[in-house]
Amino acid sequence: MAPASSDFPEVQLHVVTGKGGTGKSTVAAGLALAHASRGKTVLLCEVEGRQGIAQMFDVSPLPYEERLLAKATEHGAGDVYALAVDAEAALLEYLSMYYRLGRAGKALDRFGVIDFATTIAPGVRDVLLTGKVYEAAQRNSRNKGARQYDAIVLDAPPTGRIAQFLNVNSELAGLARMGPIKAQADTVMTLLRSPRTAVHLVTVLEEMPVQETIDGVRELREAGLPVGGVVVNLVRPQDLDAEARAALLEGTVDESALAKALASAGIDADKALVHSLVAEGRDHAERRQLEDSQRALVEKIGVPTYELAKLAGGVDLGGLYELAESLCAQGLA
């Protein structure tokens, strides 16, 4: 089922963004599972303080600590760990790691400096959030006892803010021209701009999200950040072929033949039912037509695209596994 390899074999850090309502968190979770199924040890990170991972996987809220989220039962598959990155905790950790601030560390909190640095000082928050992800990505055998990840999936801020979020040092540029935070931002940027990173954009086939995706790809490229693929999410079911859709749009459906076919399947199809089904079908065909025009725009972006079907019953754990399978099969993982 799954192709032998991923389209992004070099990539360790997969950043997933998307406009609100396109399901970027779901895709990030599916992608993390997909990588695990390929035998990788995966870290799934969220940075927006939303506890979306806990909700999707139906586990208790995640602390600022890597937790085992999904353990593989299949032979050869890896485990998924999860981490909710919190800017304040990241700052305190950073301080205790690099500076032995002692009493000053506590005073910082008391004087509102921590609050200031993580919510008000422009850009600092993003450096801290990406910095933590960077730390997880950089671990190697020299870090004794620290878990090493083959793949990290970052459920990132939405498309409208993604270039600004990742382009941490330009965000800081007007502010900190030197100093440790600036140095930290520069180090993080080297990873984010490298072939070890790919930014995937999630969209749905509607005008606004597609336009935002096109704009997002342009902004990422301008910032020198590597664009991965576009994941087209919530695609309508493809049960009617082009011929059937054309007949529905042109109003040339043979309703009596349809009624007969329905009857043969044990459905007592009166005129009203047939009419309603045809009307639903026409509505669907119209939307498919619009989707096709948006799909053409997505294809013009010139990056690999992946499609995920809309799950009519909503996304639960089983649904996430289905999305993961589909992402594997299409080669995003």
Partner: protein, 409 residues
Amino acid sequence: MPTRSNPRVGPMTASHEPTRLLDVDALLDDPKRRIIVCCGSGGVGKTTTAASLALRAAERGRKVVVLTIDPARRLAQSMGIEALDNTPRPVPGVSAGSTTSGGGSTTGGGAGSLDAMMLDMKRTFDEVVESQASPEKARQILNNPFYIAVSSSFAGTQEYMAMEKLGQLDKDARASGRWDLIVVDTPPSRSALDFLDAPERLSSFLDGKFMRLLLAPARGPARLMTAGFNMVTKAVTTIIGGQVLSDMQAFVSAFDTLFGGFRQRAQRTFELLQADGTSFLVVAAPEPDALREAAYFVERLSAENMPLAGLVVNRASVDPEVELSEAAAMSGYEKLRDSSDDASRMAAGLLRLHADRKLLVERETRLRSRFATAHPHVATVVLPALPTDVHDLDGLRRIGALLGGDDAA
């Protein structure tokens, strides 16, 4: 970090009263209604809802200005506000008062009008500084790197400036009589609560110990500085660098005299949101996340004594009006899907679509009814999903008609 530490607010037991229908036209026609705030999480169609409400109100005889935050290009074009210039401009093509139903207009006299504008966050911030400080001081502030960073990228500035703009529009409306209704869109944040929290965050920053520490050297002899302060400045210098600290100190001392003004303005706007003439409309999509955010927002409004008009559920799936259950449709689909003749294949496809639609409608209905059980007093209007985005005033008019419950929609 959004902390969800607020208690839940609810009826404790389910009452099984039917959901109240939100009467949008009554809201728009009420002359005492001066401000309508549309809020909700990102991607639920807030801006479009705000624009449609504004147009409908104008065409029912109100003199309306709509403040949009980050409209989609074509939506902005449809209202003739492609340029981001922070000034309300008349929307061409509004048929003033044309759809006013008999006796529906309570605004009396003059025909309606619609002005639209797009928020320019940095410009708004600059204008506040310019209006509060002497020209020389204003220039000092506007050129400070720390100010530039805060005014253009501080998470929350957009929310704060939207509030500021709302305050200005309200003052202008009262003074000039140019508008009698202001419709506000809110910034596309992850959490709908950000809009209410941002001004508080900014003023607590301006009021905070840290700011007072930064101001201390400007105010008194250095020896008054505490040991704590030295330690903190040293730590801040270590982390973000000395140059940032000196920029900040320069910013803060230049800004010092303005702080009082800023705090008062934030306070006044917050009070404006609690005033009788203000109504909040919470916008959501029939999805768990969007409804969860809507629930938090509804509860927060009630805790803050802010008047909630109701809930707009956008993008609902339309229930097909035939009695064919999802299960029956699926079993028909199973029987027909491997057929070779065209009619059977089409029948299979249509049955599958019908089954999916039924499942979707059922799920959305369940989500909405759970929301209604927990929030029984929230009047609601449900809008069907539309196949296309809005490109023109007619599109906005159609949505307005759906909101108002016109049969002709």
